[in-house]
């Protein structure tokens, strides 16, 4: 089970916060909610906050790649916050560190 919450701190910046287990059984919801917001946001900045989400398999990395691709295609910018060490290790295991280098915001859980 995973829940999402949208907030817009400024007109140029939307934050999508996820709360719960982010795995292959919930990945489709994270994907759907994120891509819906990307469509609305267009070229503005989208922040995905995973502080309260737990990523436990590689489906979450795949969904994050897909969101990143879509945001970039639209000329927007993606920021990932609250990435825990385990997710960072999964990104690393998938050899995607460089791709996410400018996306992951330094502070971790």
């Amino acid at each position: 089970m995973i829940k999402s919450l949208i907030s817009c701190p400024s007109p140029e910046h939307a934050v999508l916060e996820f709360n719960g287990l982010f795995d292959r059984s919930t990945a489709h919801k994270v994907r759907r909610d994120s891509l819906k917001l990307v469509q609305k946001q267009g070229s503005r900045e989208l922040e995905i906050d995973l502080t309260n989400a737990r990523c436990i398999d590689t489906s979450c990395v795949a969904v994050l790649v897909e969101i990143l691709n879509t945001v970039r295609k639209q000329g927007g910018k993606l920021k990932l916050t609250g990435i825990d060490d385990n997710t960072a290790r999964m990104i690393s295991l998938s050899q995607l560190d460089e791709i996410f280098e400018d996306v992951i915001v330094a502070e971790k859980k």
């Binding site: 059984s25 489709h28 398999d57």
Partner: protein
């Protein structure tokens, strides 16, 4: 990470065409660790693996998974157990009529509701983990044996299994690729907390990756413990295996001569 035994093998005896191939095999497989089952060819390693993955249920003794007897699992429980495990068989066991990408996507399409694009990205990620991302559209028949084995591993990893069983991962691989696979198995344990069970006769690889070694000989466990404990064993057969000493070929001359006689 906790290291309680996820799987316990208790007094397992197994038979093949009336001949006993496993004798009172007893050991535990701890969670989140790499357990290596090793021994000479024909010592019963692969038979044991078949029991562990629920493919061979006839025999005596028990295999407990989370304390429950695998032999008494209903069809439904067996299915959910199989969803928790990934298996790399010796030959890779790929579908020959599908490309590598399609092979790896199969378990994700069958068992998840992930979007096609998520599945596509996951298959590329898994192929990249085993160094085959440039071969996603190749058919298994277009690959070498070592590449098929790596592709089989990518498919075994498709679902990020809780328990990964790997049969002879290094066979047919060059030393550099084999070392890369060893590293990958350790990374999977570290990153995804995977419980890994490797069946091998490759000494170097076994001692590099194992947290626990189960050494088998003629269907029996002859040594069990951490790599250092196994290395310190004074058992003659263990030492013979570790020192790669050939068996003295003992024959019964009468029965050998008998077999040479024309029975017609």
């Amino acid at each position: 990470m906790p290291s309680a035994d996820l799987i316990e093998v208790r007094g397992l005896k197994s038979f093949y065409r009336g001949r006993q191939v496993l004798f009172d095999v007893t050991f535990g497989i701890p969670s989140h660790q790499v357990t290596v089952i090793m021994g000479a060819s024909g010592c019963g390693k692969t038979t044991l693996l078949r029991h562990l993955i629920g493919l061979k249920c006839t025999g005596q003794g028990q295999i407990l998974v989370d304390g429950e007897d695998l032999g008494s699992f209903s069809e439904g429980l067996l299915k959910s157990y199989r969803r928790r495990i990934g298996v790399l068989f010796q030959g890779g066991a790929l579908f020959n009529s599908m490309s590598l990408r399609e092979n790896i996507a199969v378990p994700l399409k069958v068992h998840t509701k992930l979007a096609d694009e998520t599945i596509r990205i996951m298959t590329v990620m898994k192929l990249n983990m085993v160094g085959l991302s440039d071969f996603s559209e190749f058919m298994p028949s277009q690959l070498s044996g070592g590449m098929r084995k790596r592709a089989g591993l990518a498919r075994a990893l498709a679902m990020d299994p809780e328990i990964l069983f790997v049969d002879e991962p290094s066979s047919g691989l060059d030393p550099i690729t084999a070392a890369g696979l060893d590293r990958l198995l350790l990374d999977l344990r570290e990153t995804l907390g995977m419980t890994v069970v490797v069946v091998t006769h490759e000494l170097e690889s076994a001692f590099k990756i194992a947290d626990r070694i189960v050494m088998m000989d003629k269907g029996r466990v002859m040594a069990l413990g951490a790599p250092d404990e196994v290395r310190r064993s004074t058992d003659e057969r263990v030492l013979q295996f570790l020192n790669r000493e050939a068996d003295t070929h003992m024959i019964n001359i009468d029965s050998y001569y008998e077999s040479l006689l024309d029975k017609e």
